[in-house]
């Protein structure tokens, strides 16, 4: 069942057929012991794809944090965070002068507040509960150090003052108590 080849290609076929001709007087012995096994192992091992063992996410997170790449990336973020703002005009980026030094929390002081107001402010979700304090008299306000927003229900005024007592913001307490936390938040932005 041979194919019919043109004569010029049939001579090439004959050359190929004779290129591995084995001598009729010789009989090759069986493959040496261990040769096939070694070769199979060599090629199998070489192409084997290593299976990654499944690790807990904490270990993987720890590995990621400990990796040099993460450290470099973190350093780059910090450098950019500090240097990028300096490229802008200070006034356009930081805004006007503020009263609250960094790291000093602003207190919200309610003076003679009606029942339920403090709870409403604390649970508004806009402020930390520990930042809210209540006093029954205005004089007691000054015993609380640091910048503060004073919500004086006796006078109906809401003021933002720094630790020295300088006023930066003043507005009447809104009639709708639901808007109170919004006005307090605005006052804090001026400190």
């Amino acid at each position: 069942m041979e194919l019919e080849l043109p004569p010029h290609l049939d001579s090439v076929r004959q050359r190929l057929a004779a290129s591995l001709a084995l001598h009729p007087a010789d009989q090759a012995p069986a493959t040496p012991s261990g040769l096939l096994e070694d070769l199979e192992r060599h090629f199998d091992t070489s192409v084997m794809v290593p299976v990654r063992e499944k690790r807990p996410w904490r270990d993987r997170l720890r590995s990621m944090l400990a990796s040099p790449a993460f450290g470099i990336a973190a350093a780059v973020v910090v450098v950019i965070g500090f240097t990028l703002p300096s490229l802008f005009e200070p006034s356009s980026f930081r805004g006007g002068p503020t009263a609250a030094p960094s790291g000093q929390a602003v207190q919200i002081v309610l003076v003679d507040e009606p029942t339920g107001i403090r709870h409403m402010v604390e649970t508004s979700g806009d402020f930390e509960a520990g930042a809210v304090a209540s006093v029954d008299q205005l004089e007691k306000v000054f015993s609380i150090l640091g910048p503060k927003v004073i919500v004086n229900f006796e006078t109906g005024l809401l003021r933002a003052v720094d630790s020295a007592g300088t006023e930066y913001f003043s507005a009447p307490i809104p009639e709708n108590t639901a808007d109170l936390s919004t006005v307090i938040a605005e006052a804090i932005t001026h400190l």
């Binding site: 069942m1 080849l5 190929l16 040496p32 040769l35 090629f43």
Partner: protein, 312 residues
Amino acid sequence: MSHAMVPSLRQEQLKRCWKACWHRARRPVEGVLVTEEQASLIAEQAIRNVAIDYSAFPSEAEFTARALEEAAEATRRLVAEQRRADRDPQVHHDPSDRRYAQNLDLDRLQHRDAADGFNDREWNRLPDLLRPLALATLGRKGIRGPDAEEVFNDTLVELARERESDHRAPILDPTVFEEIIPLHTRIVSFRAVDWYRRRSALKNQPNNGESFDALTDDPDRPVQFEDPHSDPGSTTFEQIYKECREALTSDEWELIFTLYVGQSVTIGELIEDPSFCRRFGIKTKASSSTKRRILNELIQVALEKIRKNLAF
């Protein structure tokens, strides 16, 4: 036989490679013969050495070609060193080789005097040894008498003349003396082509014999002139692979190797093998005649590439 006992395809390929390498190690060139034990050691080492170069098993054609080359080279070096140590050029010469009486000393033939070139007295014995072989080759190509003597003399000169390509004389190529025979046969074939070309170029003279153009349509490929039956063992597979490696795709080599070189499959088996058909884009449900026609085309394309790239 249980399924686990069936050898894998790769094992079959490696077994064929072992067998071929063993034979090549035992007789790396016609006329050289080492013991079976030496052949086993050389063949095993050659296969292991070649395997190191590959992380994954390449095609059977490539792996076998590399291993054959390594095995033949190792045997030639072993024989040359043994002859040098024993000062006997007949060591490891096949006693059944009757082409000529006795080997010459290759080291002396390759000794080049700085002033006089290749002038060792061993050269005086070389023409008598090569002449009968060369005249037989030329006779098969239709060149006889004084013309054949003239061509033969040219070939002797060429053995000692530096090639333009690498500024190295052909006589320096062999590692063992027996390699001079096929080397000289190739030179004789090339000069035979030149002889026909010169004769064909003499347009004003009557052309009594066949012209060169009448004998071949490709004057740049002396292989066209070769009588395939004159010296069938002269071109080894590793030589063919080396010459034509880049010309054929991996699939084409696999096809040619299994079908014609290793002869491990038949045409009928190939066209009935669904995986083979899919690999070569043959519809598995096509008729046998259609499959054979497509396979024939694939084979002819591959063989044509080999023909065009085979320089000897």
